[in-house]
Symmetry: C2
Subunit: 133 residues, 2 copies
């Protein structure tokens, strides 16, 4: 399993984990900090950023960059490698896996002499609800 290193449990980290557990969409650090503060939990913005990063490198949360360069976080359901389909309107997200794609990426890269290949793939569209207006 993912190694948390020597991280100490703190009130702030717990609140952050709770907040993430309750949301199904990707949210920005600022957004999370705001709702934490709104719900009466005193936490510093820097702390939110720090913990979010730590959780991300430990694989506890997924991070993706929005079009305008903002990082958004989400507690992922599975620890295994997967991708996301995000609704452009409401943010509703579903996780998908596709071995075929992973293999294709590796193959096409290898074909051009590349090794140690990684990739990022994000899919977005209109979810059924939002498409129905």
């Amino acid at each position: 399993m993912t190694d948390q290193g020597t991280r100490r449990p703190t009130r702030q980290r717990a609140a952050l984990a709770d907040e993430l557990a309750g949301a199904a969409e990707f949210r920005s650090a600022q957004d999370i900090h705001a709702s934490l503060t709104a719900s009466g939990t005193r936490v510093g913005l820097a702390t939110v950023y720090r913990n979010l990063q730590a959780m991300a490198t430990d694989g506890e949360v997924d991070v993706i960059r929005t079009g305008d360069g903002e990082s958004v976080y989400r507690a992922c359901a599975t620890a295994q490698h997967h991708h996301h389909v995000v609704c452009r309107v409401c943010g509703h997200t579903v996780e998908v896996t596709g071995d075929a794609v992973e293999r294709w990426a590796d193959a096409v890269a290898a074909e051009h002499g590349f090794s140690e290949v990684r990739h990022t793939l994000e899919i977005d569209g209109l979810c059924a609800d939002c498409a129905a207006r």
Copy 2:
């Protein structure tokens, strides 16, 4: 073909196009501005940003976001939809197309009720030269 709208040809825009035509890797606006300045071409940074954006929306250049949220630009060889395999060390880039992936993305999204699907896919690794140190 791509519509350039009512854009006027200017010395700055031409220099920018030249600079891009000469580079095979993705470069940041600041980087491009620096080398333009270094080579004696007086151009404002804001102008570089503005033109880069305009060229991007006109499909004249490709833009991707680096891991640290910086936008990097590159004159693309083909106007058609494609993806990139970028070397993490030297930035060497090759363009690849893969109908299978496009179809997979659309299919998996549709499967979950999504419509008007779009996607972003970037692949990175070590090119042959850099792998050989």
